[in-house]
Symmetry: D2
Subunit: 350 residues, 4 copies
């Protein structure tokens, strides 16, 4: 059987989501990366920047962005800073290319909100109707129809997956949801910042962004979209001294007297056919290492001491299910491939 | 000026609180450690077990517990597993010795609650009237009068210090307080457990004890004692891949419309004379490395997006303010020394 | 095309080499793990012990070792402590099963040496003639013919690959080779030991085994076997505060005036057809993260300041090329499969 | 008894050696830091840049360098990049100020060598006669007489202390000394570099600088100065995924048949009166955590398998004995204070 090859372009790609995309695509049977662009690194072989790729992509070098080359692709991924994808996307979709943006250009439908948090005017608000929010477990049908995928933020992925089924079922209050998120440092990207030096972040833990983080409005909008109702969400992210991994503990209040087993059932039912969401057995708790390098989200639910509060713990690898893996999952959907194609790597443990 | 020396005995001391106590006492001008007991390591020099102590305590070796030696001390610290201190304390206080227990034998006044969580019958419930809960910032007067100090748990130290002033001031609701705690692995002690191996805990983050943790009833009782009112507290501890340090993010709901600046003022007023609690400036957030090796607790408060929720982030070094440092602070109070004696080490950063 | 399935048994498998073997075999197209034995964990599902495997091996549980089941396998891996494989191997090979031992039972041909270092009498010295030392890059032909494979130690893998070509070429002296090895903590195994606790090994670095390490006689024998001459090797291992990865810096003295470029050529020539040894370009140096999770060994060579000394730096993932990956590479050779089958995972970076 | 206060100026001080100097001086009974200069951070309080200092140095802010202020100091420390101290030192010593340079401006006496490795012309070669190399254990008498102290590099400190006694005693060959050094990432400083990001250095180990490192000529010169003979030294530094700590394994060849116990005796005799060098008991090995935050160097010696090779393992905290602590030790000597003043902190373990 001959494999259909998907012609793939990557814009940007000198950061961590870029190298992770290349790592995953290297073992994807249908992927053919035809171009990866970078103005700053043009001419450099990808394996010279990311030596883990030595022996893979031997002919592939970063190149100047070329409209001609990108227009000839089936799929173009943007692994760029915010604001780049929106400039190039309209002409790409006009040329019949499907776009998956790993940055935030298309994550928020409400334009004033987007502008408020990202400090830019959106250059193509009119194409938002062709955009789907790329969280397949909640919005698979929209993704199938879309021309542009807004690949979700890492925190939103872990928190939306953890809390949505209980909210949708009406079992927990919409008035007070607290999400305490923790991320490994790769989430901060490959930019050289003093605060992200190994000598600064190692052996330390901190909250950040308590005054407001860009993933908050994204989650507010998508919770509402998924449940039909506004959620009063408080979100504080934290930095964990590790490279990869994200855990979110979500605190909610029951609206009725349901047992832990019933809460468990609701989550299991929601994800029973999902290959990338694993509801752990009652009584267990996920660890980020259980998903390291894999596209899985693992979830557990508790009703502490039989009270009226609920705790959900949700873990992902921020670079895989929280970024590049989910992007490939979206590509598989767009290309009508089995959704797990190229994404069945087992987590690295220990 | 000749320094008054305090004759100190340490029971147990082969664990992390033991070595930390020795580290701190090594630079305490009034401390004279006359005995450190350990049945399993009797005869071994302390510096052979803990080579950081080489050059200090050169004559000191672990010894079999001796009633005679301990009775001749001014202060006896218990750095033992739960259940040991309560057996030896009555005779020690009868001999005029003051006891500081770093374990949990005296932390909970309500005996049925204690038995429920620790699985033991308490052997000396009658002496609880002579016990003070050793969190000086909340219970200093009781400590001064006490014969036995229940040195607080690490999570309770960080969470009680962070939330009590706002609760006492009536600014936040008692009906829903969520405390998301994170601890470095030294909190799990020096026992050999697979789950605490470096190869297991490194590069991973997880919640644990979501079904119930022994520090929960301790906090419930002390919040009530400090505020006069029961608090509905949800507490989930987490394990951070680092050795030392603890951060607690505490989520509360405002009962009235007070500004962030007013919340800040309440905290600053509560701790203005406290040498070991530092309310950080508005807009900043503490990091655990800012207290590593020091007896400080650093706190910040936020009212995210001007809503009706409040977030407090509170950090300590779990082995210092969360254990051995606080024990020495209590010793200073009991011995009528300046409370900061021997406790002014600057945190190690980076 | 139907894939030939290899019936695989794993004896032991509750340690890190066991779970790594399962991780690798999960994506091996020809592997069919029919049994994994463990006396202590019999009845437990593998995915309950190692949750990274959830969703893979769903029917597989640890079982009591059964002669019948193991005799029906094509390949049996031993991931046991030293001394187990030698008891079971003779009957297995009599039944036509090929054995790959990840422990040390067959690594040293010289029986008195083996007994001296492992403290046991060898139970089947007579089958040593059917054993090959499983370092394919040096001993591939022997492996093809063998019934039993002694999978090499992790340090020997990195050091033999790094130094052998230069020794064989006669460019460096056999009289003084210094190998300074560094390993992540997973190399110490999954046993609960105080010294391997996260709170002990994190943020610390140390030499160990300077008086003598079991991998020394293994390397001495294999250097001699590969080069025909005895090497005076000094070897000191060190423990690095990380989970996976091994680097060896090997210091040698030139016997003649050859340039760095010539040294490079010798290494490149030696490994030009090897899929799992990557000689890095002159001027670069490997990092252990460049091979994390992959079966690669990456090597660089230097002649510092043009003097008569040579330095080789060689990195592997101690659990992959240093253990489970190399074992699967040996299985591929034994089963006449392409040697890279199931082993082309890209290293996880960052 | 009134304490004599030393008026101290610090030039630079926004890096890790700067904050470490402040941490140590905070508990030095004779230290009075009157100025700390930084052009880039002028006006910023030191405790705002380094929050571990909150509650200490409350009035101290970074200021523009002022000749008047610095000339009025007793001691001026330079914690600047290379090339700054040499510009300001001549006028300072003319004003009677003693200078301790934590950078490399005065570390190498041989000016062509210095220029070759640092790429600068030296601006004040004539004052080299007033400079001492600040390794007190080897050059204490010179330090007492000097006006300028070249505070040693971190690698040289650990390696010179480890190897010099055996070389001086003539027990090991000068023809082949191999020093394999390993440093925590704080050694790379507080500059924002991609390679030093937490996401890059965590969970990885690598050699660097194999082609040549600036500490090599420094060690070559000082070995010769201390022993009277040139040493053929090969030095390869490595980066360890931890913040603080440095281990050097030094490989040498015996010139005669001396026992391990005799080697031990030579080291013990060399350091018997030294408060900051601890020769560990035969059979033990130092770990970097045994010196974390302290000014100690701990050393062990081995003669593996009774052969003709010797291994010395030497550990320091690169920021203390390898930088700021040693600088304060030198200050104590210059100011005729007991050498251990303010330097008796116990290492933080765990």
């Amino acid at each position: 059987m001959e494999k259909t090859k998907i012609k793939i372009g990557i814009v940007g790609g000198t950061g961590y989501t870029g190298v992770e995309l290349l790592r995953i695509l290297a073992s994807h049977p249908n992927a053919d990366v035809v171009a990866i662009t970078s103005r700053s690194e043009s001419g450099l072989k990808v394996a010279d920047l990311f030596p883990n790729l030595r022996g893979h992509y031997d002919g592939l070098a970063f190149s100047e962005p070329s409209v001609e080359v990108l227009n000839a692709c089936d799929i173009v991924f943007f692994a760029t800073p915010h604001g780049v994808a929106m400039e190039m996307t309209p002409s790409l979709i006009a040329a019949g290319v499907k776009v998956i943006d790993l940055a935030a250009d298309f994550r928020i439908e409400d334009m004033p909100t987007w502008t408020q948090w990202y400090g830019l005017e959106h250059s193509c608000p009119d194409i938002m109707t062709q955009v789907a929010y790329g969280l397949p477990e909640l919005f698979r049908e929209e993704i199938k129809q879309a021309k542009v995928i807004a690949n979700p933020g890492c925190y939103p992925t872990s928190i939306l997956l953890g809390a949505t089924p209980l909210l949708k079922a009406g079992l927990v209050s919409f008035d007070a949801v607290f999400a305490d998120g923790k991320s490994g440092v790769s989430g901060a990207g490959r930019g050289a910042k003093v605060a992200m030096l190994g000598a600064e972040m190692s052996e330390s833990f901190k909250a950040y962004g308590a005054a407001g983080h860009r993933h908050l409005p994204e989650m507010q909008e998508k919770f509402q979209k998924a449940t039909g109702q506004a959620v009063d969400l408080t979100f504080v992210p934290h930095l964990v001294p590790m490279v990869r991994g994200m855990e979110s503990s979500i605190y909610m209040t029951l609206t009725q007297d349901v047992s832990e087993a019933e809460l468990q059932s609701v989550l299991e039912a929601a994800y029973q056919d999902e290959p990338f969401v694993d509801v752990m057995p009652l009584g267990s708790l996920p660890e980020t290492r259980m998903v390291k390098g894999s596209n899985m989200c693992r979830i557990a639910v508790y009703r502490p001491a039989g009270g009226n509060k609920v705790v959900v713990s949700s873990v992902i690898d921020n670079l895989v299910k929280g970024a590049a893996g989910q992007a490939v999952q979206n590509m598989n959907i767009l290309c009508d491939l089995p959704e797990t194609t190229g994404l069945q790597q087992v987590a690295l443990m220990p």
